[in-house]
Subunit: 110 residues, 2 copies
Amino acid sequence: MTRHNLELYSLKAELCKTFADPKRLIIIDELRQGERTVGELARVLELPQAVVSRHLAVLRERGVVKHRRGGTSAYYSLSDQKIGEACDMVHQILLDQIEKNKQLAERLVA
Amino acid sequence: MTRHNLELYSLKAELCKTFADPKRLIIIDELRQGERTVGELARVLELPQAVVSRHLAVLRERGVVKHRRGGTSAYYSLSDQKIGEACDMVHQILLDQIEKNKQLAERLVA
DNA sequence: AAACAATATGCTAATATAGAAATATCTAAA
DNA sequence: TTTAGATATTTCTATATTAGCATATTGTTT
């Protein structure tokens, strides 16, 4: 462990934890298209407003999203363009896995 | 939710879960340098062999690592180059966050 | 086959997390 | 300042996850 800074890895793990929930990934993808209010996200996710608010709090605490108030609404957006890019990488990795499984399946049939 | 495929996002979330632990992130970084046995990783991580084996099982089940047996040892390696790149992105996001906090702190002092 | 080395798996306790429901807080407008 | 709309927070329950310990499995060697 001497070669690795555990504290740094813990921070990275905390960041990854925010990505480790399907609903939050959808929220992130929505926010990539632009600002959204809590209510809008709740409608898209088909989740109670309180649950969405909780997810947004998680994302906020880890600095993944930022928000501004406009009237009675809170407008959320991604705090860093790179977050979207990271999600794209995860998407690619998943596609690679699916492709590999497909090839394996075909070999087994042949 | 109609616009979003929940099953796909669940798979992505599962993948991200494997990154959501500091020890596993260290394992991944070790494996980026090349193949490692369970024992080697246990020494680096200063964790009991059984715990490392469990972590490797998690990574294996999500297709993040692959392994081959050589003698009594099991040699693990990353199953996809892109996994390392994804970790780099997370690293960058974290550095961005730290930089932003630094700038904020400086503004507050001034 | 027996003994040994390396790895994997079951089980448990402690901790963390998501969702639900109720309630509190904040903002705009009357 | 009262009311209504939008968002945030608290509490509770069910579920999941990690580490530790003991034990099982697998492969090698004699």
